[in-house]
Symmetry: C2
Subunit: 145 residues, 2 copies
DNA sequence: AAAGTTGAAACAACTATGATTACAACTTTA
DNA sequence: TAAAGTTGTAATCATAGTTGTTTCAACTTT
């Protein structure tokens, strides 16, 4: 089980927009080239980021732009934007525990708060990092090359 | 994306073993009835828990038993036993970033420590809860019914 | 010897992910 | 205004992963 690669693709895309915007038109085709991901997938991800208010794109004109400052975009915002985890939550509870069994009808309730805590721990960690930090690290690594 | 339900099934199974062992033979068939999950799946999960040293089962005789004290089994042990997340990690990095692009060839390095931190936060939370607590809560809820 | 059980392999059904094709709508530029 | 390039979106496909099901050999108990 793995969280969809759309998450890392989205971070890659946003880093590219910050890095190349102004120098060239950052189109879905260009981003497809940098990420190695199909251009239609890139456009889908860009659409999700646009719906979340993270980027701006327009039909026809071409070229994506950031809609927010780098330090106002957390990894959690991106993770939410690309729908890594749906409303059901990160953990998948088996759906037909036997209500005639005392364990079966109560185990869900007994586990729920723990599963929530684990998922929240993951998400809080993602909230604590902004895109500004990822971009800064990327630039630093590039400068040291 | 969701973590396989084998994880919650495993916790359910272990709680049942603690609850019913001694009163009856806790077979894969019985556990299938309580969880609502196919008996073959139950046997697969039991096999993984056995490999991890968490339960004891034997061919022929029937009836699973705990191999450790409840407070020596963390949710993380179970999560590891049933292989919720493989060696690749929780996050799935897109596999063909373009090495000719400065962002493409460095973004992985720039993100890795953050993704690891998020995964570790999840796992540490799971390590902090033992089966003893889940079982205690389950028993408490049953007693209050 | 018979009955019940585990372990494991093989296969089917279903779902999710990501790639691909196709095309309408839109913008820019020549 | 026409052409070229781009986005947005739907439809389809291949592949992989999850869960269920069937089957049967190996084992234990009675």
């Amino acid at each position: 089980m793995q969280i969809t690669s759309k998450f890392t693709v989205a971070v890659h895309i946003l880093t590219c927009i910050d890095f190349f915007d102004g120098q060239m038109r950052v189109t879905s085709d260009f981003l497809s080239g940098s990420t190695g991901v199909n251009a239609v997938i890139v456009r889908n991800v860009l659409g999700q980021l646009r719906n979340a208010g993270i980027v701006e794109t327009r039909q026809g004109s071409g070229g994506a732009h950031l809609a927010k400052a780098l330090d106002e975009i957390t990894l959690y915002d991106i993770y939410k934007a690309v729908d890594c985890v749906d409303d059901e939550g990160l953990f998948h509870f088996h759906e037909n525990p036997n209500v005639d069994c005392p364990v079966g009808r109560n185990i869900h309730k007994a586990m729920d708060s723990r599963l929530d805590a684990a998922q929240t721990a993951l998400e809080n960690e993602l909230k604590s990092t902004t895109l500004a930090e990822v971009v800064a690290d990327t630039r630093k690594i590039i400068d040291e090359e």
